[in-house]
Structure formats: structure tokens, C-alpha cells
């Protein structure tokens, strides 16, 4: 067995250790490189900035705990921005396993921003049906959610005054880890009820949403941890997403290095085999 062959069949635990260290070391010793803001993230920020005080902002946290590292920081940044702008915030989820986490993040950021439940924001919780929940909200929000997560009748909530359906919402952002998510909000919501829609998603599904972005079906897109870090930079509150970018830089470089090494060894084996064949 040649050196190249031996290197290609290296124990994968060495690779695991390398990735572990590339994640851990930058978290312990952050470098803090500058983060460039992309136009798609800026578009979400600019639209939020353009909303006058008291506008209705609906945040749909359509993800489960598996996507927490990427989408939770996005939710925190968006909620901070919305509360800072004194927007009326309606939060909900279309993913049942994400209900507890969605409640926790909304309550935590509201508490930190000194906002009151029912007056400044409402967490509607989860309702079964996926796309039909969106249609139902578009027809009559109070039929889709007769009570909020804390069993308060939604008709009595001050924050929902004047809001009868999705037609009365100024901006909807869906933070999605898959389906049901951004596409569902577009097809069953924006297309019929004519509200502006933005999106946030995991890095894995972001490339699949670019056609919606380019055609204006969504006005902006926050993609992965990088997108969350960009939003944190825009609102001037650097937090866990920015902190995680150094680790992401290191792991990306480690994977690039591994891919290069793999090809170097692969071509060296191929060349040597060809040479043997010619002889």
C-alpha cells in the first residue's frame, strides 16, 4: 500500500477530531473577522426599517430544535429589531416540535425588550393543518387561532386590534427548516392575501429558495448562521451568530483542505497506476 492509498483510507476519527477542534478553538479564542452584509439580508432589514411604528409583523418560526443553531439566532435578531421599532409582533409556528422553543425565544426577547404579552406581542402557538392554517388565517385569523398559546382569547388581545386576517399584516417572515415553510407561505399566503413576505432558512435549503428571491416572490432571504450574523451586524447587536462565524470559517477551510488532499492522493494513485500499466 502506497502513502497516498494509506492516506485515503485514514481512520475517520482523525477527521472527526480535526472538525471538533476547528469548531472548538475559534469558539474559545474568537478572531472576529469583518462580516460583509449580502443584498438579500439587507433587503429584509430595510423592509423592517421602512415599517412605521405600530405596523403588524408576523414571525412564523417554522423549525424544530434540530435547526436551532442556525434559525434561533435569526429569530432573536428579527425579534430584537421588531421590538426596537415598536412593531406589533405576532409569532406562531407551523412545526409542532418547535412550539416550546418558539415560545421561549419570543418570551425571552420580549422580556429583554420590556414588551408585554397581549399588548405588544402575541404568541399564537401551533395549530394542525400546515398550509390550511395559512389559508384559514388569510380568511379569518380568529377562526384559525381562537386563543393564543396562553389560552387568552385572541379577539381580546390589544396587539391584534384591527387585524382580521393576513390581509391586515404588513410583513411576514417565515424562518423555515424545510416544508412547511417559506414556499408554503408564498403559495397559500402571499399569492392570495397580498402581504409582503421575507424568509429565513437553514444554509442547506437556502440555494433552493433563490428562484423565489430573484422573482420577487420573497423580498429577502436570511440564509443560515451567516445570514443571522449579517442581521446581527445590521441591528448593531453582535451575538451568538457572529460568535459562531469564526468556527464556521475554520470548519469550511478544514473541509476545503480535506477535499484538496483527497484529490491530490487520488491523482497520485491514478498517475502511479497508469505508469505501472504502461510498463
Amino acid at each position: 500500500m502506497t502513502v497516498a492509498e494509506r492516506m485515503l483510507s485514514i481512520d475517520r476519527r482523525i477527521i472527526f477530531l480535526m472538525i471538533g477542534l476547528c469548531t472548538l478553538i475559534p469558539l474559545l479564542y474568537p478572531v472576529g473577522l469583518a462580516i460583509k452584509v449580502s443584498p438579500e439580508v439587507r433587503a429584509v432589514y430595510d423592509y423592517m426599517e421602512s415599517l412605521p411604528e405600530g405596523s403588524v409583523f408576523l414571525l412564523s418560526l417554522d423549525f424544530d430544535p434540530a435547526s436551532k443553531p442556525e434559525l434561533y439566532p435569526q429569530a432573536v435578531a428579527l425579534l430584537r429589531h421588531a421590538f426596537k421599532k415598536n412593531l406589533r409582533v405576532i409569532a406562531m409556528t407551523l412545526w409542532l416540535p418547535g412550539t416550546g422553543m418558539a415560545d421561549e425565544v419570543v418570551s425571552r426577547v420580549a422580556r429583554e425588550s420590556e414588551k408585554t404579552a397581549g399588548r405588544d406581542y402575541a404568541f399564537l402557538g401551533w395549530s394542525p393543518g400546515g398550509s390550511s392554517v395559512i389559508i384559514n388565517m388569510g380568511q379569518d385569523l380568529y377562526k384559525a387561532f381562537p386563543t393564543d398559546y396562553n389560552n387568552q382569547p385572541t379577539k381580546d388581545l390589544e396587539v391584534l386590534r384591527g387585524v382580521q386576517s393576513l390581509r391586515d399584516v404588513n410583513y411576514v417572515v417565515s424562518l423555515a427548516a424545510g416544508t412547511t415553510g417559506i414556499e408554503t407561505w408564498y403559495v397559500f399566503g402571499k399569492d392570495k392575501y397580498k402581504f409582503e413576505l421575507g424568509g429565513g432558512c437553514t444554509g442547506v435549503i437556502a440555494p433552493g429558495l433563490y428562484p423565489l428571491l430573484r422573482s420577487g416572490q420573497i423580498n429577502g432571504l436570511i440564509g443560515g448562521l451567516r445570514g443571522a450574523a449579517e442581521y446581527e451586524v445590521l441591528i448593531g447587536r453582535k451575538d451568538i451568530a457572529v460568535a459562531g462565524m469564526d468556527a464556521q470559517s475554520a470548519t469550511h477551510f478544514a473541509i476545503i483542505l480535506l477535499a484538496i488532499l483527497c484529490n491530490v492522493f487520488y491523482f497520485s494513485i491514478r498517475t502511479s497506476r497508469k505508469a505501472v500499466g504502461q510498463n
Binding site: 434540530a66 416550546g100 415560545d103 384559514n136 433563490y210 473541509i255
Partner: protein, 224 residues
């Protein structure tokens, strides 16, 4: 019986399919009222799907345990976890003085169900997803090889996007960010759009086949 099993479902599918395809273009209050009612029905049916899912899960694992099939021990763990979580979810909270009713928090205080969610489900799901990074790195090392011209193009594009999506890449090679944006916005978006159009046309064709009774697999049974 054949009428109830075959003709009636086909008739209902045909009538509702045509009705709701037309409904989209009719903004009359009556049409909107009809949509409101039906979307509420769909929500209720969605709730029943949950019950069906849990029942099916219980049944499959009960059979596994009874027959002592390979890995039946995991089924016991799953059973114990479901029962314990359900007990926590349906239980009574003495601190809040009310039934938990599937809530993670009541008046800001964490319930037993919330504890299970926050300290078991969230870390477990997070760990499962985090492990992916390690396997991706291992797979990249073993299989990301430029075996053909197409594979080489994919490899180069992947390296550029990986560089352009992190601050270190943009710091070392400033143009990598712009090239990444171009790859995502032009190459990726156009290919994805073509795929989306294909999928959508397929969905329209399938819907028409279901509405007109050409496609009947959803009726089950397999026999006419």
C-alpha cells in the same frame, strides 16, 4: 358497496376539485365563506392525522416487542419515552394549579413537559443534527474527487461557495464573496427554477388526473 368505495369518492374528488380550482378566481363573499369553512375542516382533519400517526407508531412497536424482533429493546425505550412524555404532557402542575395540557410553560413557569422538551428533546435533536458536520467532512475526504469533468466543475463551485460564505474566505480572497453571489443568483437560481417549473407542471398534471379520475391510487385496494 362499490358505489360507496369507488364512485362516491371519485364524485366528491371531481366536484370539490373543480369547485376549489374555480373558487380561487371568484372573490364573492359566498365563495370566500366556503373556503373559510373548508380550511377549518382541513385543520381538524390535520389534528386527526396526528392521532393516527401516534396510534400507528404504538402498534408497530408493540408488534416488534411481542415478536422479539431484532432491536426490540429500542422499541421498549421508545414506548417508555412516549408514555412518560404523554404523562408529563397530560399531567397536573401543582405549582400552576392547573392541568399542563401539553404546554411547555404556564404563566412563564416551566412545566414537567417543558422540562422534558428543553432538557431532552432540544439537546437530542441538536446533537443529531450537529453530528452531520462530522460526517460531511469525512464524506468530503473520501468521495469528493474530480473523477470526471462534471465532477471537477462541481468541486470547484463547491470550494468557491464554501470560501465565499465565510468571513475568512472573503478576507483572504475578497472576490470569492462576489463569485459566490453570482453562482447562487445566476447559475443556481436558473437551474432551480427549471426544476421548479418541471415539478409544478407535474403537480398540475397529477392534480388533473386525480380530479378526472384517471389516477385512482389514492382510493387504495388496487383492484377495480
Amino acid at each position: 358497496m362499490t358505489f360507496l368505495r369507488r364512485q362516491l369518492p371519485l364524485l366528491i374528488t371531481f366536484v370539490t376539485g373543480i369547485l376549489f380550482a374555480v373558487q380561487y378566481y371568484v372573490p364573492h363573499p359566498l365563495s370566500e365563506q366556503m373556503l373559510t369553512s373548508v380550511s377549518k375542516w382541513l385543520q381538524i382533519i390535520g389534528g386527526f392525522a396526528l392521532v393516527l400517526g401516534v396510534t400507528s407508531l404504538f402498534h408497530i412497536h408493540a408488534v416488534k416487542i411481542r415478536r422479539r424482533e431484532s432491536g426490540w429493546g429500542y422499541s421498549v425505550v421508545l414506548y417508555a419515552a412516549i408514555v412518560a412524555t404523554m404523562a408529563a404532557g397530560f399531567g397536573y402542575s401543582p405549582a400552576a394549579g392547573q392541568w399542563i395540557n401539553g404546554k411547555e410553560t404556564i404563566k412563564g413557569a416551566m412545566t414537567a413537559f417543558g422540562w422534558v422538551y428543553a432538557y431532552m428533546m432540544v439537546p437530542l435533536q441538536g446533537t443529531m443534527f450537529a453530528i452531520l458536520a462530522f460526517f460531511i467532512a469525512s464524506a468530503a475526504y473520501r468521495s469528493f474527487r474530480a473523477r470526471s469533468r462534471e465532477a471537477a466543475v462541481l468541486l470547484i463551485a463547491a470550494v468557491i461557495v464554501m470560501l465565499g460564505r465565510v468571513p475568512l474566505g472573503e478576507h483572504l480572497i475578497p472576490i470569492s464573496g462576489d463569485i459566490t453571489q453570482w453562482i447562487l443568483n445566476v447559475l443556481n437560481a436558473s437551474v432551480r427554477r427549471a426544476i421548479l417549473i418541471g415539478i409544478s407542471l407535474g403537480a398540475v398534471a397529477l392534480s388533473l388526473k386525480i380530479i378526472f379520475g384517471v389516477e385512482r391510487a389514492y382510493l387504495g385496494g388496487g383492484k377495480e
